[in-house]
């Protein structure tokens, strides 16, 4: 049966940030849409929905010698099972535990052919507790990685902090991930169309709405801390060289590079070449066409740790024609 790909929204966020509140809000609002929900704890959900599935966050390591190639096998199984149902739904929501690394969830959508055929990762939405975020950063890498992986961030509980504190938290989020859209919220209150079915993960689609999404900004390099780096050029990219370089780079540094995204200009091609990676996994496809007279740019973004700006810049420039 030819079916449209069902959008999947991943909800992450540290313990107590407001994920379950957001989920309950999504499920109880009158939006006329039907969502399947994959959660860890049944009990916390206040809404009765027979499309709620309990998952155990079963991560497995792929047998390819790559320690960061970890995948949520339970999601593959559950998505396959959901597709056997007669009732189709408008979207799937996946709630991760507060201490979960979003990497394996994202990588699941790069790995499994059945999952890729039936669903698409729409966005990783991270709920951040404005009051406790800076403290959580000290306690481990989870809070930082959840922000690093995000396409959309709900900066929640803004009523519990002063204006100055809020600026500080937002500045920190920005330093980790300059490319996520931040919405300031209280009690996870947000218009649902700001977070659902946005195609935020899929650069091809986001570019149609926000062509300047990957604008060049000021580069940071914080060593052990997660940071974003971007490079751009008005020269076209040699796809063969690019794939070779990126493949080798991710093989070597994929543990540190959490996400990589690129929108590339290819000689003679009418469309943008859109690339994205999660750790060592990568995917590329043609995106939206360049408009007549539009300035063609090649842009590349890395979000990760220990990013060697000089080395990455040289690598990128070597791929340019």
């Amino acid at each position: 049966m030819a079916q449209a790909q069902v959008p999947v929204t991943v909800l992450t966020g540290y313990l107590g940030a407001g994920k379950t509140t957001l989920l309950n809000r999504i499920l109880s609002e009158q939006h006329g849409k039907k969502y399947a929900v994959i959660v860890n704890e049944f009990g916390e959900l206040g809404v009765d929905n027979d499309l709620v599935v309990n998952a155990d966050e079963e991560v497995f390591e792929m047998n390819n010698g790559c320690i960061c190639c970890t995948v949520r096998g339970d999601l593959i199984r559950i998505i396959e099972g959901l597709m056997k149902r007669k009732d189709k739904f408008d979207g799937i929501l996946v709630e991760t535990t507060g201490l979960a690394d979003p990497g394996p969830v994202a990588q699941t959508f790069f790995t499994d052919d059945d999952v890729k055929a039936r669903t698409r990762l729409d966005a990783i939405v991270t709920v951040v507790d404005a009051k406790h975020f800076l403290g959580q950063l000290e306690q481990g890498t989870e809070a930082e990685e959840q922000v690093a992986f995000a396409d959309v961030i709900l900066l929640n509980k803004t009523d519990l902090v002063s204006g100055d504190e809020l600026e500080k938290v937002e500045g920190k989020i920005h330093a980790i991930n300059r490319y996520a859209r931040i919405h300031r919220t209280q009690k996870s209150k947000i218009e649902l169309d700001a977070i659902l079915d946005k195609g935020a993960f899929d650069l091809k689609r986001i570019l149609e709405h926000e062509p300047d999404f990957l604008e060049h900004g000021h580069d940071h390099n914080h060593g052990e801390e997660v940071a974003s780096l971007s490079f751009s050029s008005d020269r076209p990219v040699d796809t063969e060289k690019f794939q070779k370089w990126m493949g080798a780079l991710l093989q070597l540094k994929g543990g540190d590079i959490l996400r990589s995204k690129g929108i590339l200009s290819i000689d003679g091609a009418p469309k943008r070449y859109v690339y994205q990676g999660v750790h060592m996994m990568m995917d590329a496809d043609w995106g939206s066409p360049w408009k007549a007279g539009e300035k063609r740019m090649s842009k590349l973004v890395f979000i990760g740790r220990n990013l060697d700006a000089e080395n990455l810049k040289r690598g990128f420039e070597d791929c340019l024609k």
Partner: protein, 348 residues
């Protein structure tokens, strides 16, 4: 029964097939123990029963037995009815009038894989991280927990053990009166299908990483077969245990297990190239034949002796999701992901 695949007249005529539409994907199909009835488990929670003889008219739809989707269905080894598992966490015995009796109810868990052992009347099911055993009296026992959700279960030939697939390998449980410690066989990664060989010597699994893994149980040695373009979700051993048939190729693919086994040998691939990739494969219950269903809707039947195959259902664009032979091997049941329930009569 003989399938005359070398005869052009046989090859050029599609067998008599009854196709009954439904509006939910077919997850599983099976024949009853006596071969008179075919059951289809549907994505709307129904188990639909059709007479195996394809000539009489089909029976009407019944009330859904499961609340969500039916995920698995087998012939009941103790009656001429069926046993179904669903995403409502229920394991049901389905009588021939469609009536259901609940064996297990574990809300929040999925019962997505089932196996039956004819001689002992036992049923095995995957329920979360546990392998569940239902004996012929209806008493249940659980084995586990395993390190991750059990993805497939199967009985040994003599019914004294069950094998359970999960992350990083398989576990073999002794289920007889004397409880022996479980044996684990390790291979990293996610194992998604498991079939015990018809001679009881081997267990084969399909893995998430497009290969298959086979263990010699007595020797605890293992082998890996690679080269598939997709996950191998369907495995089937020939009745004489000489061949392991695998899905996920455009032609019938069989690994040789007679003599010294398949190490260092290529698989035997035979028959006409089908449309697309095989999604389901089912060895004939007694003879040298095998049936394969494709992601295009095509169904072929093959003969490993003559290395011929013939199309017995044409491409329609809807993937074949399940196949089951009748006990006498004279008819074949199939289901598709757009809800077609098929009974194909191979008698000529």
């Amino acid at each position: 029964m003989k399938l005359d695949l070398g005869n052009p007249a046989w090859r050029n005529t599609l067998p008599f097939t009854r196709s009954v539409p439904s509006d939910a994907p077919v997850a599983a199909c099976a024949f009853s123990r006596d071969g008179t009835t075919v059951g289809f488990g549907l994505g709307d929670g129904q188990v639909r029963l059709l007479p195996a003889d394809p000539k009489p008219p089909a029976t009407a739809a019944a009330e859904p037995q499961h609340k969500g989707a039916v995920l698995s269905l087998i012939g009941d080894p103790t009656t001429d009815g069926f046993v179904s598992g669903g995403d409502d966490g229920r394991l049901l015995r389905i009588a021939l009038d469609g009536g259901a009796v609940e064996i297990v109810n574990q809300k929040g868990k999925w019962i997505d894989k089932l196996a039956a052992h004819r001689a002992t009347g036992a049923i095995a099911a995957s329920v979360g991280k546990m392998a569940l055993l239902v004996d012929k009296t209806g008493a249940t026992r659980e084995f586990g927990p395993h390190q991750s959700t059990v993805t497939s279960v199967d009985f040994s030939k003599d019914g004294s053990r069950i094998g359970a697939a999960h992350y990083d390998g398989i576990t073999v449980w002794s289920i007889g009166a004397v409880t022996l410690p479980p044996r684990s066989f390790k291979w990293r990664g996610s194992h998604v299908a498991l079939k015990w060989s018809t001679d009881g010597k081997f267990i084969a699994t399909g893995t998430q990483e497009n290969d298959i893994h086979v263990w010699r149980i007595a020797q605890a040695t293992d082998m890996r077969m690679q080269g598939y373009p997709a996950k191998v979700k369907s495995l089937s051993w020939s009745a004489d245990a000489r061949w392991l048939y695998t899905s996920s190729q455009p032609v019938f693919t069989a690994w040789p297990f007679a003599g010294k086994g398949p190490e260092g040998k290529p698989p035997l691939q035979f028959g006409d190239e089908g449309a697309g990739l095989m999604t389901v494969i089912a060895a004939h219950p007694t003879a040298e034949y095998v049936a394969g269903g494709y992601d295009s809707g095509e169904v072929q039947v093959g003969d490993i002796k003559s290395k011929r195959s013939a199309v017995i259902r044409m491409v329609d664009g809807n993937a074949v999701t399940c196949l089951a032979w009748s006990p006498d091997g004279a008819s074949l049941a199939a289901g598709t992901d757009n809800g077609d329930m098929l009974v194909i009569d191979l008698k000529r």
